[in-house]
Symmetry: C2
Subunit: 189 residues, 2 copies
């Protein structure tokens, strides 16, 4: 951020009075421009014991597999965001059952909120941001070609549930320990 979105004046990074951390503050009109983490909402959409994954047609991680998920928009709920992303990326209609996992990714200022749900039918196809879409059981998941650590963690949890048992609700923090090589640590509340 270089300029004020209210008056076009230059902004400086400084601690406003009464605050405890640097913010972008307009030198001219004094507007404080807060920045906050974003929610990524998504679905674990099941059909006859298998779940829906999308192979990404966009960067980052072009060509790798992910759960249908994306940034929550203004004016919608997290559930609406999760079902919308499933429709957009996998052309699939889903009914949500429950929140399943919340993952904090503080190194990229994202909070994933992933819901469990059921496809309303076996109809799906690649949306504009996907190369292909398919259903996978535990043994067929492309574990070595998953796009993001948060997807791998979620699939491990989900396929680890006891058949006929009660689903858990998980809150995890995924911390990036290093970039080269890429290493993460996940801890659960």
């Amino acid at each position: 951020m270089k300029f004020c979105s209210e008056c076009a004046g230059p902004v400086s990074l400084r601690v406003p009075e009464g605050d405890d951390r640097p913010r972008y503050v307009c030198d001219s009109c004094c507007t404080i421009h807060y920045q906050n983490p974003n929610i990524v909402a998504g679905c674990i959409a099941e059909w006859e014991g298998r779940i829906l994954l999308c192979r990404r047609a966009i960067e980052p991680r072009h060509g790798l597999w992910t759960l249908p998920a994306g940034f929550m928009e203004l004016g919608e709920t997290t559930q609406q965001a999760a079902t919308r992303e499933t429709l957009e990326e996998a052309r699939a209609r889903v009914e949500l059952d429950a929140l399943y996992a919340v993952f904090n990714l503080p190194h990229i200022n994202q909070v994933y909120m992933l819901f469990r749900g059921r496809l309303l039918g076996p109809d799906f196809s690649a949306g504009e941001e996907s190369l292909e879409v398919a259903l996978f059981d535990r043994d067929s998941v492309p574990w070595d070609a998953l796009a993001f650590q948060v997807v791998a963690e979620t699939l491990k949890l989900y396929f680890g549930e006891q058949p006929g048992g009660r689903y858990g609700l998980y809150v995890g923090d995924i911390e990036r320990l290093s970039r080269e090589p890429l290493r993460y640590r996940t801890r659960y509340l």
Copy 2:
């Protein structure tokens, strides 16, 4: 938003190519300025069967009671945000047990994430944004002087739990039906 924070050029609200909703787009450098909902993280902090509420020293709802909660900051987790807000607003240290409730407030683009926890001791006092801080049981909660609908909903859920039972995890949508008079509808997933 009137000006681009990258180049100070004027912005227009229009649908970018390949998108499906209006965004602020810079007329000059073409930067798309996405806007997304914010997370409000907070605590239901218990001590000997009573929970901590803060009487607000700031607008909106000055003088009314709320759970310690506030906007999640960059670089932190939702749990860190919840414990930080409890420390700032109630000068209280808390250990979190679990996520308890997620509330979507689409009319103000907020998602509340409220955690259950226990005070580490009976030490608390009003932080800068609070007039006073106190512990309440179900019968002493100032039900007619609560600051926000989301606080009332959360306290109803929490005090409705069965003694010795397993706590629930709630995902609710609070919709504002009208402003005058102020009316809301809450629905749970």
